[in-house]
Symmetry: C2
Subunit: 189 residues, 2 copies
Amino acid sequence: MKSLKDKILGDGIVLGNNIIKVDSFLNHQIDAQLMYEMGEEFYKRFKECNITKILTIEVSGIAIALTTGQAFGASVVFAKKHKSLNTSNDFYKSTVFSFTKKISYDITVSKEFINENDNILIIDDFLTTGNALEGLVDIIKQSGANLCGVGIVIEKTFQDGGRKLREKGIRIESLTKIKGFENGKVILE
Amino acid sequence: MKSLKDKILGDGIVLGNNIIKVDSFLNHQIDAQLMYEMGEEFYKRFKECNITKILTIEVSGIAIALTTGQAFGASVVFAKKHKSLNTSNDFYKSTVFSFTKKISYDITVSKEFINENDNILIIDDFLTTGNALEGLVDIIKQSGANLCGVGIVIEKTFQDGGRKLREKGIRIESLTKIKGFENGKVILE
């Protein structure tokens, strides 16, 4: 997607050796038009799946999941994050380790909103270690729903989340792939 | 908006005397089509304003702010919540007291994303005490931007946030107004 690549190269701010800040269009300020285009692009890539629900995780997955839901005519469900939570019969729960923050947290989805009849597309903004995505995949497994695939805005291919998930047979479509950083600049695949 | 009223009356779950749970279409699962219609409705109501930015607050304001941003062709900025944060030259900060949780928290917006040339529409899911909205209004004032008005999905008119903000001369458009609850049912105005 050229419009997304141009944004990343033009407006993304490289911090250190492996962080890109995309606050100006994805994580704090949101470019509504770009979100719409990306939702349409995910629809093109996964339209053969009969998607019933889009699943994402708060906070920064919500916007791109919503425009993807609009493109599919499907509802969006976002997993909620908690410091740690007792198990309950009301929700599916999985525990995620945050590589950035070096802490574990729980994610939950109400049992009301996904079940074994659903055909789910996971959408998220970043794929790095894949830990959050593995939590979402675990929740889908608990629900008995089918996972059609995963749509990602920015994948960092120098981290191993994408490889690990693909090795499990999960289809991942990333709109852009960052293979590294050189002299403070992003190198896209 | 009939579609929204039908959803509230049909799918909203009343808890106690003053809480309505709208997890099935607004706060956990998101009805993408309804969000789109509400975004269009806010556009109709505020189209005479030359809106440059939509401002909301994480988490549950993001979806409705995004579809409103799409309708206006404007970017969306969401304020971030923090337990408490030192002041910085990089962001505007305001402190909000949560009536539900009985704690104060800070909200921030990067100075990069709103400034004195902006004409802002605030969008949020609920208006109850108005404390979060007052924080957003404070941030807009700090930035020197103009506030055109506030668009709300559900206002509880038996709490005094709407009255307080209107008394300050702020234009508020609420798509639905709940005047109370009777026998576990929502009473709309």
